[in-house]
């Protein structure tokens, strides 16, 4: 028994029920990539947790480290060049980063599953979708081929696939993007995982199909009481589905709070900028109005400035921002922000 799980069990025995609620806790996770040009700190000290039955949204632009974070949780970082240099990921009382590869394989797809952004490249094109869904269950639940196929049909029915008994014999290319994403979700949910990681599950889909898939993820989450870690760049998706939000920028958490808090009272200038730069549907703004854009672009991770990583794009930058990097501080009520202006 490791020290962590010992502490955890003591706390559980001690009646601290709040800690039982946390499905997964990530502490100070750092994933670096060694390249010819230097070390890239793709994930640089991320802390977050997911409570049971909750959807936590991770928001950020490309290159902010959100996908690397998800892959680190699954321990799927290609190494070399990638390396998880520090941190703990507590799941079920165990530190996932210290598991043997064999034990980790029993977690992947069983207790934690993942839905990827591009359903075409994540499904095997030469295997029928029924067999692909059944494979997970045969491995983890030790079902026979026949039982697994029967359950695959049930799963496809649950995710709203029309005539599922016939579609299990289809190959991925015979399906549309939305249908393939349903297959991915059926596969991810087949072993009733406690945590599902969805990496931009609707980005490649049309808006009407996006609405179907988001509804499906929310409904299935409520039915099976699992938790979801939803990675997206779309704040509209967050508004629709998430209870908690983590805003990431250049590998670090900039703001962490409830979805309600983010939309009603954003604290970090980056979050404010993201919220204000969106065109508002049915606002009747006319066509003369300009959007409040965030100036500049996402900084390269090779040469991040000293001090705050957002300093060059921040509207209220101060001297201290250029010298020292702010810490993620609680502002009360579970609302965390990494900004010097909140210190005063």
């Amino acid at each position: 028994m490791t020290y962590d799980s010992f502490v955890l069990s003591c706390l559980i025995i001690g009646g601290f029920e709040w800690i039982m609620e946390k499905i997964i806790e990530i502490h100070d996770l750092r994933t670096y990539f060694e390249t010819a040009e230097g070390t890239i700190r793709a994930v640089d000290g991320v802390d977050l947790h997911v409570n049971a039955g909750e959807t936590v949204g991770i928001v950020g632009e490309s290159g902010c480290g959100k996908t690397v974070l998800a892959l680190s949780v699954m321990r799927l970082i290609p190494s070399p060049p990638g390396r998880i240099v520090a941190g703990r990921i507590l799941f079920d009382g165990k530190d996932l980063l210290r598991l043997q590869e064999d034990d980790m394989r029993r977690v992947r797809g069983r207790s934690i599953s993942m839905i990827f952004q591009e359903p075409m490249t994540s499904l095997n094109p030469v295997i029928r979708v029924g067999d692909q869904i059944a494979e997970t269950m045969r491995l983890h639940l030790k079902l026979s081929h026949k039982e697994a196929m029967e359950r695959a049909v049930c799963m496809l029915e649950r995710v709203g696939m029309p005539s599922p008994a016939d579609r299990i014999y289809d190959y991925p290319h015979q399906m549309s993007g939305g249908m393939r994403q349903r297959v991915m979700i059926a596969m991810a949910l087949s072993c009733e995982p406690r945590l599902m990681i969805a990496d931009e599950p609707t980005t490649a889909l049309d808006v009407t199909i996006q609405a179907q898939i988001l509804d499906l993820i929310t409904r299935l989450k409520e039915e099976s009481k699992n938790s979801v870690l939803l990675i997206t760049h779309d704040l509209g998706v967050i508004a629709e589905t998430a209870q908690q939000v983590v805003i990431m920028y250049a590998g670090q958490v900039m703001e962490r709070c409830s979805a309600q808090q983010l939309f009603s009272n954003p604290c970090h200038p980056y979050s404010v900028g993201l919220l204000e730069s969106r065109p508002r549907f049915r606002a009747g703004s006319g066509t003369d109005g300009y959007l409040k854009a965030i100036p500049g672009g996402v900084p390269g991770l090779y040469d991040l400035p000293a001090g705050c990583t957002f300093q060059d794009r921040c509207p209220n930058v101060m001297d201290v921002c250029r010298k020292e990097r702010p810490e993620l501080k609680e502002m009360g009520d579970g609302h965390f922000s990494r900004c010097w202006k909140n210190e005063k």
Partner: protein, 342 residues
Amino acid sequence: MLEKRKIDFEKQEHPSNNQVLLTLEGVKKYFTVRDAIFAGRYHTVRAVDGVDLCIYRGETLGLVGESGSGKSTLGRLILRLERPTGGRIVFDGEDIGGLSGEKQSAFRRNVQLIFQDPYSSLNPRKNAGSIIGEPLKIHHMHSGRRDRDDEVARLMEVVGLRREQMGRYPHEFSGGQRQRIGIARAVALKPRLIIADEPVSALDVSIQAQILNLLKMLRREYDLTYLFITHDLNVVEHMSDRIAVMYLGRIVELAGNAALCKGPMHPYTEALFSAVPAFSPDEKRGRIILEGDIPSPVRPPSGCAFHPRCPRRMEKCVRVTPELMPFREGRSVACHLYDSDQ
């Protein structure tokens, strides 16, 4: 039939001036594709299936639809990158099908395209200066090296790049900056119509707003007309004067921006707009969840192409294809629900 269509156009809602820049009359584009299994068999894909539309000078016409609705093909037809299977496209009083020589060259100057993907639409072996200067060179404008370089530098400053970046290559720029290069190239010849095909879809959220602002600013400075093709309804509402909604190669609804977004008439438009994610958690609203996917344009459904997914279908919808008919306040809608009102 043609006579009737002309009357329809005049009734369409339009901005202050009513000078028509571009007219599409019954434009069709069918593609023939080989069967996936039987090599000898061919199918017809009706990518664009009878579109009547006009674009007024100085307006931004938003064209929305799901993937496979034919919106990009329509853009390519207007650019003359595809020949229509049927119908006519008239730009500034001339049928573009019959252009040649000097008139063709003038047409190519007047109509430009902004691409979706800023990564694949710039030649990686040319520096920013020669990418932006190339249209000037081809059309013999600003001949003379120095003159051209001055113009390129001016264009770069207009789109928010620095003169010193002229010698840099595309890979040295970020996605947003590359899109600025593409935009500078499109406006270099002072075109009258710009087709923007998903110009911000490949960009990060914080960069999208910058590019949308730039496009709006250019429209005012250069007196441009945009055909703004996108699947993002938030963006189209922000940019457009009028919006046309496409479904399986046809326009199902066309109306002024405010009218369309406040009260869509076609059941497809209604469902499409209700699928837009909420602006904040407090604004979650009832959704119309459409069942199934957009059907294949190889075998479009009989009657109204939307009837298999339509929550309000009637018996007539299965048999008769509704025409795009003018409605009150210059709106047009192709739906049998409004047959008696017209």
